[in-house]
Amino acid sequence: MAIDTFIFVLISGIVLGGLYALMAVGLSVVWTTLDVFNFAHGAFVALGAYVAWQISQSAPGPAGFALAAALSVAFMFAFGFCLHFGIIKPFERSPNIVLLAVITTLAASSIIENGIQLVWGPREKQIDPNIDMRVDFGGVAIAGIDLLSLAVALLALAGLAVFLRRSATGRAMRAAAQNREAAELMGFNVAFLFAIAFGIAAATAALAGVFIGSLRFINPSFGADPLMKSLIVVIFGGVAQFTSPIYAAFIIGIVEAFSIYFLGLYWAPAVLFALMIAVLMIKPEGLFGNRQKTL
């Protein structure tokens, strides 16, 4: 394997990892705060991509792409925020919440997917970011949009980390995630904080959707694949902490890039799944997880 091929594969793995991290972080934020697994996350990615596509149709150029991404993220934040009150909040005190949330999020996913189909039709679409720049990197040409997606993903994750660790709202969210009753006794509006967590998850999913939509074609049901990928990532890294899937995402991205190179497109996913099951059997809480769930 030539060194430039190696670098190319490595960089595409890292870019992939950035996208995966963006997709998976939303899942783990929801899991660590609300104790539920959000099966509508893939649909969030898809809806975010379609909203961005719609805006980019009427706003040309790189600025239009930026605007589309920003509006899509804002829209999805509001969407996720509201959705929480419809599909999670009503039974948040039920002992069956895990199972009930599985079915409501699956149903929400079906609603979103079919809604996309009704509004935008079943034909495939692609967002044009209007970024034709290529960056030469040690003799390897990397597409500008790849680098942009990596940079934005890293910035978004850093921003999220700062928000959760430093801001009052972020700290309150972490408090509510760790001990709901104690947070209520400190006067926090826990339902509001949980809705924000759901909104953040939807917003990061939208950001991932915008970049996926500018890298390949999208159709109403394309969210299933990102959902499965995020699932692998969170299992691999562990869902106990919102940061652990981020490291895992980069490992998965790189492993996937290399296994596609060596084994071909067909076998690469099987390698990932087998790897994940191996991790689970040896360390069920994930590579970077501990059993204590925290935000």
Binding site: F39, T104, S109, S110, I111, I232, V234, W267
Partner: protein
């Protein structure tokens, strides 16, 4: 001892027979192939969802690879019947082995996992399986699947002939087999271990339930029928495509399970019909159909998380109490003659703080006797005492709330021993009975004890078929002989068989006159049985014990030695302070109700008891006596 009657003696028998008969007749009415096709799909969904309930609902193991069991059955049929060339029927029977093997493999990685992690791993495992299936495109046909699988035939008869009627009945047979399997399994020791692990894992383990083995059984057992159904599905649609691994198939089946109701066998079956038929009715609306179905599912889960079956049960509950009240009303209006003939006089309704109570009062002027009947009986149980003592004494008997021709009460406030004792006290006051001699039978014995222990006027007290309880529930197994009938005493719904057996055991008199008493159980409000037993822990039992030990009220215990419920040694050995004739009295030949079934002997003894205490004006009673 857990009371678990066989299925043909439960209330489920009649609805199941009706449903089964309907399903057998249905294809003869709807000859349309499409309707039969939909029903076949309904049966398959019902099998998938109800078997999933075994792991998800009963076991609490969130296995999301359940659809993979079905897929394995499907592909096993494709490979076995088409590629290897095994007989299609034999392949269908062998397919579950493949799905069970996968289930056994699946049990390993989730052995140490809980909750959400089980969901993640099982989804991953089924996706892994999908990747393997898709990658082996020479055998499985890759993403486009296997086509033209062999169809089922019996001799030269194709099951697709005559509008698929053959497939319809095979599918129905599979559903019936699945239901019998689940019903039996749930009641077996394995089924109880599965539920015990879900409800209290560590306690179950400490009692010797192996978590690993039980999870293995759960998964394997839940894989059998989906494997069978998958193979059958393959022979029916003749295509094996990887779509069955998809999220949409999983979503529909899970919706059926949750909308029907988790941890019920019948819920998913009912929901399979409801959801599939509902979706078919919306058939023309395309994407809107899926949106509407998803909204309805969210609506059901959010508004009524118990699901359809719980809803049906709640409706049934409400109807059952109404039905009992209606029977009471009907008997009050139209059977007054029979009651009056038996008792030698009419009864009347008396307003109490626990509802309107039917009271019989012979209006005589002698010493008052108050009779209190037992669980699921009525005041007419004492008609032989009315006949024997009516000329000398004033005899009053009443139907407890929810019994006889009294009104139903509020289950929260009216169906407990304290309330029953208050009803007795209010009747004594309203009818100006002075200081009555109180006789209580069985449950009525506790009412009589509670009445006297609460300080109500009592000249003397006699109980029959009642074991004194010092503490509850500790003394229950001492005072009573454990038998399924003890469980019946607190059971809300009686099947026809249970009504008959309960009446026969408690009222061992076969003659036509006692028939009215035996029929009382058909009218009794089931909530009265349920609540009075459920609220036994709130009764002040030590106060009753103090009453019996201190002996301030003359007290007699007259039992039947053949009484199948009470522990005679326990009753005889109890340290009574002042029991009539120094010990418990036995009247042979009357079982649980000697005053009814061995009336002559009982009345003779009872007459002596009455004679001894009717004239007594004990000093200890002065503070209890009413002002008159």
């Amino acid at each position: 001892m857990k009371y678990a009657p066989p299925f043909h003696r439960t209330n489920g028998l009649v609805p199941v027979i009706i449903a089964l008969a309907t399903l057998i007749v249905l294809p003869l009415i709807f000859t349309d192939t499409y309707v039969r096709h939909i029903l076949i799909l309904v049966f398959i969904y019902a099998i998938l969802a109800s078997n999933w309930d075994l792991s998800l609902g009963y076991g609490g193991v969130f296995n999301f690879a359940h659809m993979a069991f079905f897929a394995i059955g499907l592909y096993a049929y494709g490979i076995g019947a088409k590629i290897i060339g095994i007989d299609p029927w034999l392949t269908i029977l062998l397919a579950p082995l493949a799905s069970m093997a996968f289930a056994a493999l699946l049990a390993a990685p989730i052995l140490r996992l809980e909750g959400i992690y089980v969901i993640l791993v099982t989804i991953a495992a089924s996706q892994l399986l999908l990747k393997i299936v898709v990658s082996q495109s020479d055998i499985t046909g890759g993403t486009s699947g296997m086509v033209l699988l062999p169809r089922l035939t019996i001799g030269d008869y194709r099951l697709t002939s005559d509008g698929r009627i053959g497939y319809y009945y095979v599918a129905l047979l599979l559903l019936a087999a699945s239901t019998v399997f689940l019903y039996k399994l749930e009641r077996s020791s394995v089924g109880r271990a599965i539920k015990a692990l879900r409800d209290n894992k560590y306690y179950a383990i400490s009692r010797g339930v192996s978590e690993g083995a039980t999870r293995l059984y759960t998964l394997c057992a839940s894989a059998v029928l989906p494997g069978l159904a998958g193979a059958f599905y393959g022979s029916y649609v003749r295509v094996a495509s990887p779509d069955v691994f998809g999220l949409s198939f999983l979503t529909i089946t899970l919706s059926i399970l949750l909308v029907g109701g988790v941890s019920t066998i019948w819920g998913p079956i009912i929901a399979a019909f409801a959801i599939t038929v509902f979706a078919e009715l919306l058939g023309e609306y395309g994407a809107w159909r899926d949106i509407i179905v998803a909204c309805v599912i969210i609506g059901v889960v959010v508004i009524y998380p118990g699901g359809l079956f719980a809803g049906i049960q709640e409706l049934w509950d409400a109807l059952d109490s109404r039905k009992a009240a209606l029977i009471a009303l009907w008997r009050r209006r139209f059977q007054a003659g029979r009651r009056s003939e038996l008792m030698g006089g009419p009864d009347r309704m008396v307003e109490t703080s626990h509802g309107r109570i039917a009271v019989f009062d012979n209006g005589n002027s002698g010493q008052a006797l108050l009779f209190i009947h037992g669980n699921s009986a009525c005041k007419e149980a004492f008609f032989r005492q009315v006949a024997a003592f009516g000329d000398r004494y004033r005899i009053v008997a009443f139907d407890l709330p929810g019994h006889g021709v009294s009104e139903n009460g509020n289950p929260r406030t009216d169906y407990n021993y304290e309330a029953y004792a208050r009803v007795a006290a209010e009747i004594v006051e309203k009818l100006s009975l002075g200081t009555p001699i109180v006789f209580g039978w069985s449950l009525g014995g506790y009412v009589a004890l509670e009445y006297a222990a609460a300080g109500n006027p009592t000249r003397a007290l006699a109980i029959c078929g009642t074991s004194p309880l010092g503490t509850f529930p500790d003394d229950m197994p001492l005072g009573y002989i454990a038998s399924p009938h003890m469980e019946l005493a607190g059971k809300r719904f009686f099947s026809w068989y249970e009504k008959r057996i309960y009446a026969a055991k408690t009222v061992p008199a076969e003659d036509a006159q006692a028939q009215l008493v035996r029929h009382a159980v058909w009218r009794t409000d089931g909530r009265a049985r349920e609540q009075v037993v459920a609220r036994m822990k709130t009764v002040d039992w030590p106060r009753q014990i103090r009453l019996m030990k201190e002996g301030t009220v003359p007290f007699a215990m007259i039992n039947g030695p053949e009484d199948p419920f009470i522990n005679h040694d326990y009753c005889a050995g109890f340290p009574y302070g002042n029991i009539w004739r120094g010990k418990t009295q036995n009247i042979a030949g009357g079982g649980h109700a000697p005053f009814l079934a061995a009336a002559a002997a009982f009345n003779a003894a009872f007459a002596e008891f009455l004679a001894e205490f009717e004239t007594l004006k004990p000093a200890t009673q002065s503070e209890l006596a009413t002002p008159d």
